[in-house]
């Protein structure tokens, strides 16, 4: 199948510091591709190069057959970009904002009105379209922020943390809408700090760290990388640091990190069977006040590959 997006060997250096090194991947039509990485890993730089905001030092980006460097207009016409911030005009109404971007992006005059109404329906804001943006709730702003990227019917939608600061109801609405777009054949690149969103939306995920892709594959393929290990979340009351040091030496534990003042996370093969040993290891050092065993997931994979949690 022809890819909607093909990027190869993307690199960017700022004053001798490598922000992105040899990043490359493809996204097919109707595929949602997740881009995960801790803060400063190079996600935003990568996305900026994909949407043409930054010129890569090396590498190519081809969108729908158009080379972004050689024919930026054609390539950008196929990209919808949803920035992390609400990149709209607060003094304009929702409808005025959408109309502005329709005209800016060159939609024929006779199509503008109809397309604006379509997008307002799509994001569920037709009834609030004539209210100024600064009267919208956080969730409504996020929805119109996505809507503005859909106006010119892009083949590829790139979303940078599209649900930050959104209430659960709006988040569900946004994710439902994105799933419909993917089902209709749109390609998606999605970054988020919410692992459950990535697991729900994305069929393939790349984990980026220190500017490079350290792992890529389907959720199943990535989870396999941690060898089917379980994640054990412990809440301790006592000397947490000493307990953590003891747990690191426990057979079967492959990762052990402190996630808060009283919490510790372990990655362990057959974790549920290891639980009695875990409790006895910390006995006399700290009391276990809560425990949760989670089967292998992307969070565990991420921790395994990057040594940090996604929200660090």
């Amino acid at each position: 199948m022809t890819s909607t997006l093909t990027c190869e060997n993307l690199s960017k250096t700022y004053g001798g510091v490598v922000a992105v090194r040899d990043v490359g991947f493809t996204v097919a039509p109707g595929e949602a591709y997740g881009l995960l990485g801790p803060n400063g890993a190079g996600k935003t730089t990568t996305i900026s190069m994909l949407v043409g905001l930054l010129k890569p030092d090396t590498g190519t980006v081809v969108v729908g057959g158009a080379d972004l460097a050689a024919d930026p207009m054609a390539a950008k016409a196929k990209i919808g970009y949803v920035p992390q911030e609400i990149a709209l005009y607060p003094d304009l109404t929702g409808r005025e904002n959408l109309r502005f971007f329709c005209r800016l992006f060159g939609l024929p005059r006779r199509e503008v009105r109809a397309r604006v109404e379509e997008v307002l329906d799509l994001v569920g804001l037709a009834d609030r379209a004539d209210a100024k943006l600064d009267t919208y709730s956080g969730g409504m702003k996020r929805r119109i922020n996505i809507g503005a990227a859909l106006l010119h019917r892009p083949e590829l939608l790139i979303l940078d943390e599209p649900t930050v600061g959104v209430d659960p109801q709006s988040r569900k609405s946004i994710l439902d809408g994105l799933e419909r777009l993917v089902a209709d054949g749109m390609a998606l690149i999605y970054t988020s700090h919410y692992m459950e969103e990535v697991e729900r939306i994305c069929s393939r995920v790349a984990i980026i760290d220190h500017g490079s892709i350290v792992a890529e594959g389907t959720r199943h393929e990535l989870v396999e990388l941690v060898g089917g290990a379980d994640r054990i979340e412990l809440t301790l009351d006592g000397d947490v640091e000493t307990a953590l040091a003891k747990l690191r030496g426990l057979g079967g534990v492959t990762e052990a990190v402190r996630t808060s003042a009283a919490s510790v996370r372990l990655i362990a093969e057959g974790g549920r069977y290891l639980l009695p040993s875990v409790i006895s290891t910390v006995d006399g050092i700290a009391a276990v006040t809560a425990v949760e065993v989670v089967e292998p997931d992307l969070e565990a994979t991420f921790l395994h590959l990057t040594g940090s949690t996604l929200r660090d």
Partner: protein
């Protein structure tokens, strides 16, 4: 491309109309400025209606030259009056009594001393009550001083070459080495006949053009902060569209602003700015230069607040050195030289020249050329700055 640019411009204009800044900066402030200067300063330049006393204890060619030139000058006729006074004390009393605005004192033997290559010293009496009359008297003396220096140099060179002292005066004059004859030119920058309301009105218009254009580029940096600029640039438009769209509105509003200042001054107070085509072209060139300079600042600024501050500083520095706040002729020579690097100086000089002479477009070709050169240089630097920063 053009449609995208007009879309950005339309939104910018709409925003400026909605928040009333367009109305304030393009209409209200220019009318207010014209009114303020028309009421406060309307009419002819006061010092040129003043009387300057002459104390001629020399009786030689220099005081005669001053009288001759003042009488011969059509520009100064009926405006500047010379009054002969017998001595310094009488001149001082007349000055204290307000009968004269300033006095020039030629000491006895002055012309002979200069003719012998020994130089000479001319005295000037001025009063704090009539500062601009003092400027006129000093201007006359400055011109005499340059003649004296040229004559002294020529005489000394002739003496060194072996010309007998008794023949040196005749020798120097016969060989045309005495330097130029004394002339009093009409020079508005040095206190010529200018309606001060026009002078300061033009200066304020020149100053305010920077603020008007600066507001548009400030909004460009605000758009960068709020993310809308990146959203635009990620779309299928040329990267220059948002910048050009803002520049068009800033330029247009600044043109409206300076033209309203001009129109108000003419229509309300009947001031004469000179040939309309020349005035409009000069204002156009000034606004282009102001647009380019503020664009250059925006291309290098990191935040809208930083751009605001820098534009404010540049505007006032250019206004001060360019004669928008104080007349250029009151500045020391070195500052008048620095003024040549500001668009304000060329605009103010050009406009006051047009107002005072009735000349046409050709007479302001130089100021227009310099302003366009400033605009081209600043646009070039701004383009480089944007390519490295905003569009990098």
């Amino acid at each position: 491309m053009l449609r995208s640019l007009l879309t950005v411009s339309a939104l910018e204009l709409r925003t400026r109309v909605r928040d009333r800044t367009a109305l304030i900066i393009a209409i209200i402030v220019p009318v207010a400025m014209a009114t303020l200067f028309g009421v406060a300063l309307g009419g002819d330049d006061p010092p040129l209606r003043a009387t300057v006393g002459i104390v001629d204890q020399d009786g030689g060619e220099f005081p005669a030259g001053v009288r001759r030139e003042v009488l011969a000058s059509t520009e100064l006729s009926g405006v500047l009056t010379l009054r002969d006074l017998p001595g310094r004390e009488q001149a001082q009393r007349a000055l204290d009594a307000g009968d004269i605005g300033a006095a020039i004192i030629f000491p006895a033997g002055f012309s002979d001393s200069v003719g012998a290559g020994e130089g000479g010293r001319v005295g000037v009496l001025t009063s704090a009550d009539t500062p601009l009359a003092g400027v006129v008297a000093n201007a006359v003396v400055d011109r005499i001083s340059s003649l004296v220096r040229a004559r002294t140099l020529a005489v000394r060179a002739s003496l060194e070459a072996g010309v007998p002292a008794a023949e040196v005066k005749e020798f120097v004059e016969r060989n045309g080495a005495a330097g130029p004859a004394l002339t009093l030119e009409n020079d508005p920058m040095a206190g010529g006949r200018v309606d001060l309301s026009v002078y300061y009105g033009a200066g304020m218009a020149a100053l305010f053009a920077f603020f008007v254009v600066g507001a548009s580029f400030r909004s460009l940096l605000i758009e960068r902060k709020q993310g809308t600029l990146d959203r635009m640039r990620a779309g299928p438009i040329h990267g220059w569209v948002p910048i050009a769209g803002k520049a068009v509105v800033g330029f247009a509003l600044a043109m409206v602003s300076v033209c309203v200042t001009w129109g108000s001054s003419v229509l309300i107070f009947g001031s004469t700015w000179g040939d309309p085509v020349a005035v409009f072209t000069l204002l156009l060139a000034h606004v282009l230069a102001a647009t380019a300079i503020t664009m250059l600042v925006a291309s290098r600024a990191r935040t809208d607040a930083q751009a605001d501050g820098v534009i404010m500083v540049i505007s006032f520095v250019a206004a001060f050195f360019g004669g928008s706040l104080v007349p250029l002729y009151t500045l020391p020579d070195v500052l008048q030289t620095i003024a040549l690097f500001t668009p304000n100086a060329w605009t103010t000089t050009g406009l006051t020249g047009l107002a005072g002479s009735g000349a046409g477009l050709a007479s302001v070709a130089l100021p227009i050329g310099v302003l366009l050169a400033i605009a081209v240089a600043a646009f070039g630097l701004a383009a480089t700055g944007f390519r490295k920063g905003l569009l990098g």
